[in-house]
Amino acid sequence: MQQEHSEGHHVVPVRTYLIIFGALMVLAVVTVAVSYVNLGVLNNFIALAIAISKAVLIMAFFMHLKYSNKLTLLVALMGFFWLIIFFAITMGDYLARGSIPGDLGPQSVFAPWM
């Protein structure tokens, strides 16, 4: 059968999908296991690092970014780039204030019934 060879027509082998799935499951188990160990601040970094790794694996192989053209890759990465801007400016604002968001104590307007 004539195989078209063009940019968008890459067929990822099933074996690749299975290997990546295995890696994702392992990472899922690791992330739960590590959360039960007290590593202080490191817990957050590891949890985020594992989550980002899983996201990268899913995007590269399941979502075929590894086999797509550069324009698609650019648009995909731009989404996360804008998210980083969102985080950076918002946190920059809040952290630069004298104190973080208002007091949510007993008399707060958020929970007048308390």
């Binding site: 078209e4 949890a47 075929h64």
Partner: protein, 217 residues
């Protein structure tokens, strides 16, 4: 090969360009979805910085076993979705149908488990509002955490419901033989949406369920 010819819209050069543009359009939409969920994640980060203890306390109330099972289920559904795309690409109609059905089933199981988790919250007086009961002084901030939990997982669940609905449509079309090696980009793009919803959960799970879990031992 004529009977398998994919239809190319007149404004495209060829099938490949059409396919690439379709995929690019889906990615553009997913970029907006990243910002959609992103808003809730930013809110989470702001309030976690503000009230860390309340967030740890609230996190301990979430069912890590059910959350963990749901993580495995979603990862599995991503695999079946990828295999569905593969089946469409290789003209394997029966496999395509099977994998679409499996993806739907896994998605439904996820929603059932999620529904049970929500029920647990109502049952344990953990739903923000007049019925909320809390043992420590951080009650209001814990309500904030759980509000964010409901908003984020609720938004995620809505995406799942819509995804499952659309998957049914694809299933019906697949049984009618609509997808083949020349016309698989609809399935591919559905896959992109489904994988995105999976990625959202990949971040939701550790951020909400796994905060200071070692304290619960």
């Amino acid at each position: 090969m004529a009977h398998k010819a994919g239809v190319v819209a007149p404004y495209f050069h060829d099938l490949d360009q059409q396919r690439e543009v379709n995929t690019l359009g889906m990615w553009a939409f997913l970029a907006t979805e990243v910002m959609f969920f992103g808003g809730l994640f930013v809110a989470y980060v702001v309030y976690r910085f503000a009230y860390p203890e309340a967030f740890y306390e609230g996190s301990h109330e979430l069912n890590v076993i059910l959350g963990g099972i749901n993580t495995f289920i979603l990862l599995g559904s991503s695999l079946t979705m990828a295999l569905a795309v593969h089946s469409a690409q290789t003209d394997a109609k029966k496999k395509l149908i099977i994998f679409l059905i499996l993806t739907i089933i896994l998605g439904l199981i996820f929603l059932v488990i999620k529904g049970f988790e929500y029920y647990e919250k109502f049952d344990h007086h953990l739903v923000p509002g007049p019925d909320f009961e809390w043992h420590s002084s951080h009650g209001n901030q814990v309500q904030l955490f759980i509000s964010l939990y409901f908003a984020t997982t609720g938004l995620h669940a809505i995406h799942m419901i819509i995804g499952i609905g659309v998957l049914f449509y694809f299933l019906i079309r697949a049984t009618m033989g609509a997808y083949n090696s020349l016309n698989y980009d609809p399935v591919e793009n559905m896959g992109l949406y489904w994988h995105f919803v999976d990625i959202a959960w990949v971040f939701i799970f550790p951020l909400y369920y796994l905060l200071e879990r070692y304290m619960t031992l």
